[in-house]
Symmetry: C2
Subunit: 356 residues, 2 copies
């Protein structure tokens, strides 16, 4: 069933809209005091992410405050490798880590696609509970990390500055990395399809680290597997199109190739000029982005000026070329919550005016 | 006086060469045991960088091992703001920091261009001593951080993940940031000119953090000041052309604009396809780069394969289109020194073969 506000879905499918829809990557997050309160009650980030009730609570928090045009499932990007048995944990004050990273040929050989219902049922429960709580106000976006981005954490064992371990594997034993990516690709496709069946109305693939790859390696080790995922994802569910969004951070040089991957929309970071991207992509895909999250530290006039700059840079949406407003990366935890209201209202007001 | 091996200078000026010259960013560095020994003798990184004798010693170390086509001054990127009185220090196991970062309007108002001879004489002494020790074998490259990259450290007080402080200044008080950049720009031009007068035969501007800026902000806050520096730098000294190189890491989307800045050559990171970059830039500038430093963790056959891939991607150098081989970023401290020999020999051998 179509949500009452389906502006996001129409923009992603390059259908006409009355204004430019907006949501924010990591909109349910630490910059909101109510999120920090729920997080404190949960005891840990993982307890929060693994409780469907609490995940539902935080997913809806930004929608209570701001007239956003979409909800996005609150979850961790590493649920899939955790379900593969790698042992996700968060050391105090650090990013995510795996107890059992993939380092040897035997580690890689053992890897297999997890069963969605048993190992990731809590995510689908959250999707269903969020859909109930949303009561069809706005669409719910499901998501997954890309096969390569997941592999980065799986091989490095956590975050990395230089991706030395996974790139050593890439240049020395590409066969091992291709095997990991093939498993990840099948798992990500299953994961997104399970989210769609549970109620996700659009899905986004976060390729956070694809932009760390060299030209050539990106196409072979990240984009090829994103294309594979897209070829397996259900594009239609219960009579509705399920739009897909691909976001390779730092991928601005490869937009034409991303557009050929089969996605409906491309996420852009703030280094990309929206008008130039539109000229390069034409009507092949919608574009999503791309304000620097640090613009939210400007004063209200500064935020409005940068929003107007982005909207006019994209230009007037003709039929067949959609724009979804977003940041070019997740919102900073230090963002003043009032700044988000200024941003969301500016996107709605200015984009209506530009259409008039 | 022209160095005996002037291949680098010719390639930077898009004159014919017999093979593709190669040097490596951070080639004098921690991956070399002899560097670590000198560094230990110096007592600290700053003591090493501030001693002309020791800076000369480490600058020449990679040239003793490998048939590199250039030396690059060993120095720190933050000598200029240190000379401005910001108090550079290195906390144990951390990156560079400033005791007195620029936070208030008064901090910014006090900033001024330092006197090169008194505050940075040790750098010019090192340039002269390196030139004597090189005995005209290969050219010596001088360098500076870009005005914006220096400002990042000066405002943040050290490295940063999100550049929140400088971007808050950029979006809230652009006047303050422009004032810092104007001072930096004059200081960087003086600094490069003093290096040229002391003997630097080419100069490179490292815009390490320009790629963190949004499209639009990059042009206004980084590239505009690089252009200003280039307009003030001596392009001729003692009858020889002094080629200039500009390297904005993550700047692949802006190559045409960088090419219009007045530089002779553009540094490229590994996300850029060399052939595509050459097609975009034509004969306006030479190109320098761009192997992923992690390729040096491959086996010898893998290194040679990636070198050949880069060289053939650039294509045969016609007259008027130069290529200088380099990494797309500084060499990793974990690199096996033997891998560098494989790389340098592969660049020379394969590029001679491709010209044959």
């Amino acid at each position: 069933m179509r949500p009452k506000n389906d502006t996001l879905l129409r923009a992603l499918l390059r259908q006409p809209t009355e204004y430019t829809p907006v949501w924010l990557m990591r909109q349910a997050g630490r910059y909101l005091p109510e999120y920090r309160a729920t997080r404190a009650r949960a005891g840990s980030f993982l307890a929060l992410a693994k409780s469907p009730a609490l995940a539902t609570e935080v997913t809806l928090q930004p929608l209570e405050r701001y007239p956003l045009d979409a909800a996005i499932l609150f979850s961790d990007i590493l649920t899939v490798p955790d379900a593969m048995g790698l042992g996700l944990f968060f050391a105090e004050g650090e990013g995510p880590r795996f107890e059992r990273p993939l380092r040897t040929e035997a580690d890689v050989a053992r890897l297999s696609v997890p069963d969605m219902a048993s190992a990731l049922g809590y995510v689908m429960d959250a999707v269903r509970e969020i859909r109930r709580a949303l009561a069809n106000r706005v669409p719910l976006i499901g998501f997954s990390g890309s096969p390569f981005t997941l592999a980065c954490y799986m091989v490095e064992g956590g975050g990395s500055d230089d991706f030395r371990l996974i790139k050593t594997m890439l240049y020395r034993r590409p066969d091992l990395l291709h095997r990991i990516l093939a498993v990840n690709s099948a798992a990500v496709a299953d994961y997104l399809n399970a989210q769609i069946e549970a109620g996700a109305q659009a899905v986004m693939i976060f390729d956070t680290w694809g932009g760390a790859l060299a030209d050539g390696a990106y196409q072979a080790f990240s984009l090829a597997y994103i294309r594979d995922v897209l070829s397996r994802v259900k594009r239609q569910h219960e009579g509705e199109r399920i739009p897909t969004i691909v976001f390779t951070k730092g991928g601005g040089l490869w937009l034409e190739q991303i557009a050929d991957s089969g996605c409906d929309a491309i996420g852009l970071d703030w280094t990309v000029n929206l008008g130039a991207a539109r000229a390069r992509i034409g009507d092949r895909c919608a574009l999503q982005g791309n304000l620097d999250p640090m613009v939210l530290f400007a004063d209200d006039a500064g935020i409005r000026r940068e929003v107007e700059h982005a909207l006019t840079s994209f230009g007037r949406p003709s039929s067949g070329s959609g724009h979804v407003f977003n940041l070019g990366h997740g919102i900073s935890q230090h963002t003043p919550p009032e700044a988000v209201m200024t941003l969301v209202e500016a996107v709605h007001d200015i984009s209506r005016r530009l259409r008039a």
